[in-house]
Symmetry: C3
């Protein structure tokens, strides 16, 4: 069959285990969850997308350019990021078409990756594409999608409703006024819940470029003088309150490690002053960040924001690409992480606090069975976060369930989070998770480790209950 006519037709049994007996069980479990509303407690969709509801511009800016999962793989395959429009504003149509052609011509590079899987589902189920993309049909597919994007039913709000999203959390800077969230909440024509997430990383890292400006701005926005450490804490507390008032239920943190260790107050003050003066050492800056992570946990026990940790990524690994194209351009590379000892001070202080929730994510799979599951299997506050980023993929998700469940069961896991900025991939991502969990549960049933009524109840809980509980939704 010539490639130009290869069909694109996602199979109803996709991602289910191959064994016919297990697959039959998986189908039954999946039927119970496939249509449940989407709860998305952590992601990177811009709320203004839904507020303005402007049509998407073109296939490339919708599906290629902003998605570093896609652009990094094309880059690895030899396509310069510049030809994909990375780091630029809206592309003129000819350039958008070039970017799209690169995607189609390199379709084979995505074989076996979840990006390919999500694309198949998106192209087929949202845009009705029936051909596998390739160099030959790239322009035709571009035109087909571009035409649809002009239609009302392909505008963001229409898609959002078609996707069945019940709650969507965004990720936001502490200084954001959250006016988009407020406007959406106040819009009588809009009923879904779109809530912010407090993400204060850059305010907690005195060693990072721009920290002093950030802290100054924090003071302005919060109306609290951040010239002192106490003022800095108050300003953060004020912004957290602002987020809570706008519906936030969680605060997200992503640093190189998760060590959370309080400093004596006078030492914290001293380092803070030194950092403002530009004289803090690297070791002091790290100690201060670790003190602040502890403080964030303390604030969580007071204002109720769920604390989520996404640690251990070496950001912007390839300096020339960072300098030319900016951050989030596909070369953030994971490193080892350690939770047991790093979190001990925080968990000894707050681990059994009734209001505290701590969701642990990792890109280092070794901690699933060794550290995260044992922590989630003792502390009522700790949840094993769903596989994230590079691990948000079929085999990795199965490994996660097999590594975590035997120590922490299903109830101590967060439920799925899509963590995406690729808006159209949201339903495919949640559907993938539901299919995989159905398969994992079906295997337990087939091996007589769980009865089918229990598996069914668990499948539903993982979609409907776990994220609500872990994220206080």
């Amino acid at each position: 069959m010539p490639r130009s006519t290869s069909p694109l037709q996602p199979h109803p049994d996709r991602l289910f285990p191959a064994d016919p007996g297990v697959r039959a069980i998986a189908r039954r479990l999946y039927e119970a969850v496939r249509e449940l509303p989407i709860i998305s407690p952590h992601g990177h969709v811009d709320p203004r997308l839904l507020l303005t509801d402007e049509p998407f511009r073109d296939p490339a800016s919708l599906l290629v350019t902003p998605d570093h999962y896609v652009t990094r793989m094309l880059h690895a395959s030899g396509v310069p990021l510049a030809e994909l429009g990375v780091g630029r504003g809206p592309l003129p149509e000819p350039e958008a078409r070039v970017a799209w052609r690169h995607l189609c011509a390199n379709w084979a590079a995505f074989r076996g990756t979840p990006v390919r899987y999500w694309f198949d589902a998106e192209l087929s189920e949202i845009f009705g594409i029936t051909e596998r993309p390739d160099a030959g049909n790239a322009d035709r597919l571009y035109d087909q999608i571009a035409e649809q994007l002009t239609q009302d039913k392909f505008r963001p709000r229409a898609l959002f409703q078609q996707f069945g999203i019940e709650v969507l959390a965004t990720t936001d800077d502490p200084c954001d006024d959250l006016s988009a969230h407020r406007a959406l909440a106040d819009d009588p024509s809009w009923s879904a819940r779109v809530i912010p997430t407090f993400r204060p990383d850059r305010y907690l890292e005195p060693a990072q470029a721009g920290w002093r400006d950030a802290v100054t701005r924090l003071g302005e926005v919060s109306g609290v003088d951040t010239g002192t450490y106490v003022g800095f804490l108050c300003a953060l507390e004020a912004r957290r309150r602002h987020f809570v008032e706008h519906g936030a239920t969680s605060a997200d943190h992503s640093h190189l490690d998760v060590r959370a260790e309080p400093l004596p107050a006078d030492e914290a003050q001293r380092i803070y002053a030194a950092a403002l003066a530009g004289t803090a050492t690297a070791a002091e800056a790290t100690a201060f960040r670790r003190n602040m992570l502890f403080e964030m946990a303390r604030m969580s026990t007071e204002d109720g924001l769920v604390m989520t940790l996404h640690p251990a990524v070496h950001r912007n690994h390839h300096t020339p690409t960072y300098e030319r194209f900016g951050a989030d351009t596909g070369h953030d590379i994971p490193v080892q992480v350690e939770f047991t000892q790093a979190l001990q001070p925080m968990l000894t202080a707050f681990g059994t606090h009734p209001g505290f929730r701590l969701v642990l994510f990792t890109l280092d799979e070794t901690v699933f069975s060794r550290e995260i599951a044992p922590l989630a299997g003792f502390y009522p506050s700790v949840y094993a976060g769903a596989p994230w980023w590079f691990l948000d993929a079929p085999d990795a998700i199965r490994r996660y369930r097999r590594a975590v469940t035997e120590t922490a069961g299903f109830s101590r896991t967060s439920g799925f989070i899509d963590d995406t900025r690729a808006f159209c991939s949201i339903p495919a991502r949640h559907d993938m998770s539901r299919r995989l969990d159905s398969g994992v549960l079906a295997e337990l049933v087939a091996e007589h480790r769980l009865d089918e009524d229990e598996a069914l109840e668990t499948a539903v809980a993982l979609v409907a209950d776990n994220p609500r509980k872990a994220f206080k939704l």
Copy 2:
């Protein structure tokens, strides 16, 4: 089907691979091992249980309270440890019933965990329970089990015999006089082998609270003055001899790492004296412990005790729980471990010594393929220990076999150890291991990587020969 009448009925094919062809092979292999006697070379049953043979008190104190696998999961699910009777003596009946109700009401929390699997087998096969526990039938099940516990055939010795245990090793303090072991051995009405294991951890860690008192007591019990380093070594040697005379075949060690590195004799003496004087630094205490681990290996080559290592756990992670409820209450959390470089001095000294046996256990799965299997695949003294604690579970056991076998085969593995203080779970744990190894071997046969006659011989060897060889039984 309403939950209150859900049946509890362990399936004859449980834990076998789902594929019908593979399952048929697994059944045949399992038939050859299912009835073989249990050899338990490492565990935590109290020998006095068998000596006094008193009836078990109630379902909660038998199955819930002392088992930190169970209580930690209930704690994670929101049940205070105090309501489970943790850290207390015998519970009055109403409180025992409360603890039991918590277990039944939270039955779903254990889905997918081995605890659930063991409970199913215990309740069904020992106590004849035919209903899945839940909040509704908790009291009825309590009464049913409590009634049985008054019968002679549910007393410890009767169960021990019903379980088919041939050898049971306990874990004991070096100062224990081993009178219980002696009395059992001298009891003409008792025929099984119940042997002690030498576990000297706290005598080897000068930095731990109570070390000086322990060392003093060691001197008293051994009749050797432990005021000097040489006396300390002699006292340890004397206690090891005492254990050997009472049937011990192994010494077990659990420290934060496994580094074993000899100190010059005068340096060891100096640190020992400083430790007694309370002036040893943390670094000196660690160096001393590493010196002692080396000395323990040296003593093993002389007295023949198999050396077993269970390292890399951060004990008592949640300080408030430790202070209120004591040790072994469910919040020991694993950390990374390293064997290759840490064991190099010990293995260069004793690795090919004909009398030396070293069994390596880990909670950090990364070392199975990277370090343990290569070590066991060269050194005739080294055995890859069975998956332990958090890893003593179906999927983890499969991962272990797949990670270790390709480098070290089956013959270099220790055979199963149950390592349990949950007496009634012993047969279920060994049965689980036999089912899983049958399944792993069946997969090798189905993929034509092993002939079935070889798989059968291997399945039997793993149960009957490997533990005897690794533990010198």
Copy 3:
């Protein structure tokens, strides 16, 4: 069936997944690749073997003595290395027979290991053995193989052609004159491509015994004075050119870590001079090696040699064995490795250089999903190397594909390398890889994650295209 008559008969479906539906797909994929020529871009065959084409001496020296995969397992099983002829020259016939008997008598020790799998294929397909080796038939099998080794069709060149090898890369010292490669290339009766690989480890490690002599010899062979750092660099560049002129396409590096970090030129000069004077510290020696790894990458961008990294092995773990039997005797034990931060300076400098290729191998599986796949999924220069050494085995290969593919696809992987000094195992190793990749792809097809036409194209690419691209063949 008595063991003495157990048949040896590799099954046509060996290593395919057990599920009948998946197996049928795997068979179809495998048919497309089973007869493709072997490309062996990295290994340890001695080119003189092919140059002189002398008959192999006896079964033990062909299949046992030089293969540390085999001898280490026999050693672990209690056979002294001396009885296997390790570290000696040619064995007298009676001793060769003793070594062979040890192999046959310990056949069971290899169950579940790839060595056993390779042996089955070699014995059956090359030597027509139809009985499983054991203590009883050892001498008979010895005689049968020994007789065949006298025949012309069992001489190295005849086997090489029978194996269908198209390219074979050897591993060579920078001072090697490569005359054997030259002579083979000039031999009109020889048509296959046998190319050298530049392996400069010991020239880059000033802390290792013999470094100064090596550097002196490097100067002599290259005709460049290595008395200065600049001369040393020039000499290495000259030898790399010599290798390129003799067909080399890659340079291989194996150090304890992969940190590559340039030193200021004067600092490098200073340490180099100190090292020659014998006064460099351990830290300086390490810094110098890391500087040199960076320099090797720089040279690769200039002369085009693909850079391959095989790091993180603690060599010669058991000192007494090393002292008596030498290196490569089965006790090289892996340690943890880190790529993300260690390679950052090199990849920021050369990661997008059009001529640069970097193939990353590991014995620490944790880096497959965490570091190698993300690096290969961004940098066009980086390839995820095939599983190597202890990981070159069925389950490990599957784990590799499942860990790498979801992030880096198939196109960013190196294709199979056999890395062997066991000449007769080459076809079995490549065949194993083809069977396993067919199985992995078949599972993707069965789960509807890939269409079968794509799987077929991928299976062929992994054998025919990927190694050519990654190794510039």
